[in-house]
Each structure stands twice: as structure tokens, then as C-alpha cells.
Symmetry: C2
Subunit: 301 residues, 2 copies
């Protein structure tokens, strides 16, 4: 089967909302290559290019892509097969009013550093940072509210989660017919937390395979990601504490369903293995996840 | 050199304060075995034993141990060589008013589960949880305020950090002459977050080697831990966001000092590699850390 290409030139969204119009419709099992712009829309080409304040449109998400047969209550399965860099430099920036240490002594904004890509590494002064691409923004049409591509929520969106990388499988609740998947905002490298507000922002080509999990039991309220070793629930909220509560509750639901436990026994196991992780602390809502090693959770669906 | 044994029968503290009286004084380079009680002082022997509310004294920390030549401004280096279980069962409990999901629907407290240890694993129903011991409470005499052993702060204390394990090296700022190290509250296994409020609480014997780093540059304001792969700053605060800010700032200081960078460049690198991690979200102050891979930070002192 030939791999269909979907480019940002076919369409992008800057807002995840209930009513989105698909740029293409594919069948379950479809293999796609999705071309994404960098989060700053190509505006940063030299270190003299700086971002004074967050632009009204960032994180262009290529799509949306409708998947036939994806109905509300289903789960969209996105296997991330490969992420290739589509340019030879990334950029990391500070932006006024943005970032974990914004306004702290010694932290300057705006500042831009270009990071040349050579031999699968980014040059940071004399240091080399291995290229390890991450999809920053990935999600589906929302249930009722709308969220710009700067915001993460139950539909996904700006999750800035390092596990959204090649080899992982992302799962999203389907809120609208066709699911309406869109993604962009990739980084050539990113730390858990994304403290300064960006990773190494870069254009990419992403190979994915899309499937629909019909009538999942239990259902999914928020994103989930499967890595080589773990299932990780992902939750976004006003505070990290609230995000941790949601991610932990979602993990308990999966554990309780698979093992026939009550919530309290699941809670106790969750306190012993895997654990809470930070995705990002810089977006309008922050994101945490709860990792459950596969030794304790075989298959949630 | 014979290894000196320090037992909880020699002395424990339930409060880290500026003025502590040493149970023993050792020279730099001393190799010790430290015997610790379980965090609940041996009160939980069967599943009928439950904890209605947090006792006034928990996390007995064996010590304090004075180290000769440790002066305020120095750093105490604690190499954690081995942690052996000293009993054949751990216990995980829920306690009213305590834990990430305390009061949530379906979460019962108090509840106790005993976890039998066999062949380096804990039995949790049909599942086996590998034994991977962690020191929950470890710290030194404080600068001015006092903190019970339920609370983590700049002196260490109830850090509940999974990296406090065999093979790691913990570093603490010395606030008082002799440093006055004490530790206890070990877990046979614990998840990042310690969501239900406990890991598998258990008595242990801990082998450590103690050293003093004199006149460190830069100095240390809060705990730091060296793992096989990373240096991790550790910070505790009222909220996870504040703890993340402190841990990130401490990491920037180490990066800037080693590389001669300004804070903003260090901030940018911190946003690309390693990242923020959650230690615990259940104690009166919560704890986060910022991991910097050793590829980018060779030796902070």
C-alpha cells in the first residue's frame, strides 16, 4: 500500500474544536506520512530573529485527518513509526511571559539559539545533543470546548510529551466522527518539562499508521501512550498536582479493569511501580503522566 | 577498616533541627552500616493493623552521625553502597487525610496490605514487584528552622526520592558542624510520586561511605543526587511548580559554573536534555528534581 502524504500545505489547524473539516479521509490501517512545519512557522532563520511575545498562531497542526469508522466513544490508535527531520537546524528560544523561570534573575528573553544538525546530533556550543524527535502537538477534535494549539487537554493538543516519539503508540478518545487527527510542533530534542518553553523546534516528516479501537472497555477519557516498557496515562490541568491526580486516577481505572481489583488496591500498586512523570510545565495548562510498567498492565483495551 | 554499625537503638530523630546531638562521630572516609526501623515503627504486623491518621512520630531517622571536619558551607557526600532488607515483609497502607487521591471516590482508608518478600520480589496478589530499596528520609541538621521527619526541605528529610538507592551518591549542604546525618523510612519498592502515601515500608541495613567536600564551588543550597547516568538537583516546596523552579534553578547554576555559560544558555540546554522528575506528591511539602545527564555535567564540585 502506498503511503499517503499529508502536508501542512494541505491544511493546518491552530485550534482543536468540535467541528473540524478533514483535509483527507483514510481507512483504518492507513499508513501516512505527515509533513509538519516548525512550531514558529519558519519565522526563526537566524539568531537575530527573536520572539518578543507568544504569536497568536503557533504549533500549526497538519490535518485534520478523518479516519473512517471512528465514532464517538472509540479510541484512535496512532502508531508513530518514524520521525525524520526536514531541515538542517532546530531553534530553541526564550519568549517574554513564557517559560518556567520567566522573569527570574539572569533569565533573558527574547533569545534565540540555532542548533545545527549534523550526524544525528544538535550542536549546542561544544556539546552535542543527540537527535531524538518528539511530536509536541498531537490531538483530535474536541468534545465541546475549543482549545488553541498552545493548550493541552483531554483531546491531546500541545501535550509536549517526550514519549510521543518513534516506537510509541498514542491513543486518543474519539469525540467526533472521524476523530480528526492533527499534529505538528515537533522538536529534534526536548527535556521532560520543556522548561524554557521550547525544545529544538524543527520541521519534520512523520510516518504513522492509524487504527480504530471500537467499543474499548474501559473507555478512554484522556490521551494514553504505549512505550516499549510502559503504558502511560496523560493528563493536563491548571496545576501539576491536579494533572497528577487525573493521570493517577486514569491509571487506576486501567489497572482495576485488567486485574479485577478495587480502586484502592490499584492505588497501592501504583505507589510501588512506575510512577508520575512531568511532560511540560510551561503551557497554559500543564501536563503530567502516570507510567505503569507493562509487567503490571498487559493491554488496557 | 571495620564497618561501624549505627542502629536505631543507638538513637533516632523525628525532627531535623539546627542543634542535634550526635550518637557517634566518625572521620571522613568512614564506612558505616546503618540500621533503620520501618517508617511506622513496627506497628503494622498484620493486615488488621491499620493507621487511622498520621502518627505524631513517623520516619524514625537513625542517627544523627557527626562527621569530623564537616563545617557549614561544606557538602556532605553519602555514597549509598547497599541497602539490605532486615525483615521478610513490607507494608503499603492508606491513611485518612493523606495521599494524592485521599477522599476520592473508591479510595478507602485506612487499609493495609502486607507484601511478603521472596526471591528478591514482593508479592502483590498474583503479581511480583522486584525489590529495589529506596531510602525515604535522609538529611542533615538544618540551618535555622526545624522540620519533622515527615517534611522534606533544603536539609533533605522526607525526600521520598527513588534515586536514593544503592549505587547513588547523595550530597547535602552542611549547615552545622559535623553535618549530623540521619536516615530511615526505607521502602522495598516505591513509585515516583508515592501516590498512596507509602511505598513498601520496611526495616533495612544500609551500607554507606561518608566524605566531606570542603569549600565546594559552587556551593550547594539543597540536596543533589548522582546516579549512574545523571546529576539530579532536588527541591521541596508548597507546590510542584515551585519545587520545579527551584530544582531547575539549581541545575542551571551547576551547568553555568561548569561551562562558563550565562543562566539563559544553561536554561536552554536544560530544556533539551534530561528534565524534571517527580519525587513525591504526598508530604506536607512536595518534591521534584531536575536531571542533567552526565554527558553535559561532569562534576559539579
Amino acid at each position: 500500500m502506498e503511503r499517503e502524504h499529508v502536508s501542512h500545505e494541505d491544511g493546518v489547524v491552530y485550534e482543536f474544536e468540535p467541528d473540524l473539516e478533514a483535509v483527507t479521509t483514510v481507512e483504518p490501517g492507513a499508513k501516512l506520512t505527515i509533513e509538519t512545519k516548525d512550531s514558529l512557522n519558519g519565522t526563526i532563520r537566524t539568531e537575530a530573529d527573536v520572539i518578543e511575545s507568544i504569536p497568536s498562531q503557533v504549533n500549526a497542526a497538519t490535518g485534520p485527518i478523518a479516519v473512517e469508522g471512528a465514532d464517538p466513544g472509540d479510541v484512535l490508535r496512532v502508531e508513530i513509526e518514524e520521525i525524520r527531520l526536514a531541515e538542517d537546524q532546530g531553534r530553541v528560544v526564550t519568549i517574554g511571559g513564557f517559560g518556567l523561570l520567566d522573569g527570574h534573575e539572569g533569565i533573558e528573553s527574547p533569545r534565540t539559539r540555532l542548533l545545527a544538525v549534523e550526524d544525528d546530533a544538535l550542536a549546542f556550543g561544544d556539546l552535542e545533543v543527540p537527535v531524538d524527535p518528539v511530536i509536541g502537538t498531537i490531538g483530535v477534535a474536541t468534545e465541546s470546548d475549543s482549545y488553541t494549539t498552545l493548550v493541552p487537554h483531554d483531546h491531546g493538543g500541545n501535550l509536549d510529551t517526550t514519549d510521543m516519539t518513534a516506537g510509541s503508540v498514542a491513543y486518543f478518545p474519539v469525540f467526533q466522527e472521524g476523530a480528526m487527527l492533527a499534529m505538528g510542533d515537533c522538536k529534534a530534542a526536548m527535556a521532560d518539562g520543556e522548561m524554557c518553553g521550547t525544545g529544538a523546534e524543527i520541521a519534520t516528516e512523520i510516518d504513522v499508521t492509524l487504527e480504530v479501537v471500537s467499543d474499548p472497555e474501559p473507555g478512554l477519557e484522556r490521551p494514553l501512550v504505549e512505550t516499549a516498557d510502559a503504558w502511560k496515562t496523560i493528563a493536563s490541568a491548571e496545576t501539576l498536582e491536579e494533572a497528577c491526580e487525573l493521570a493517577n486516577r486514569d491509571a487506576l481505572e486501567l489497572l482495576a479493569a485488567e486485574h479485577g481489583w478495587d480502586s484502592t488496591d490499584a492505588y497501592m500498586l501504583s505507589s510501588l511501580v512506575g510512577g508520575l512523570e512531568i511532560s511540560q510545565v510551561v503551557d497554559p495548562l500543564v501536563t503530567a503522566r502516570n507510567a505503569v510498567p507493562k509487567a503490571y498492565l498487559e493491554d488496557p483495551f
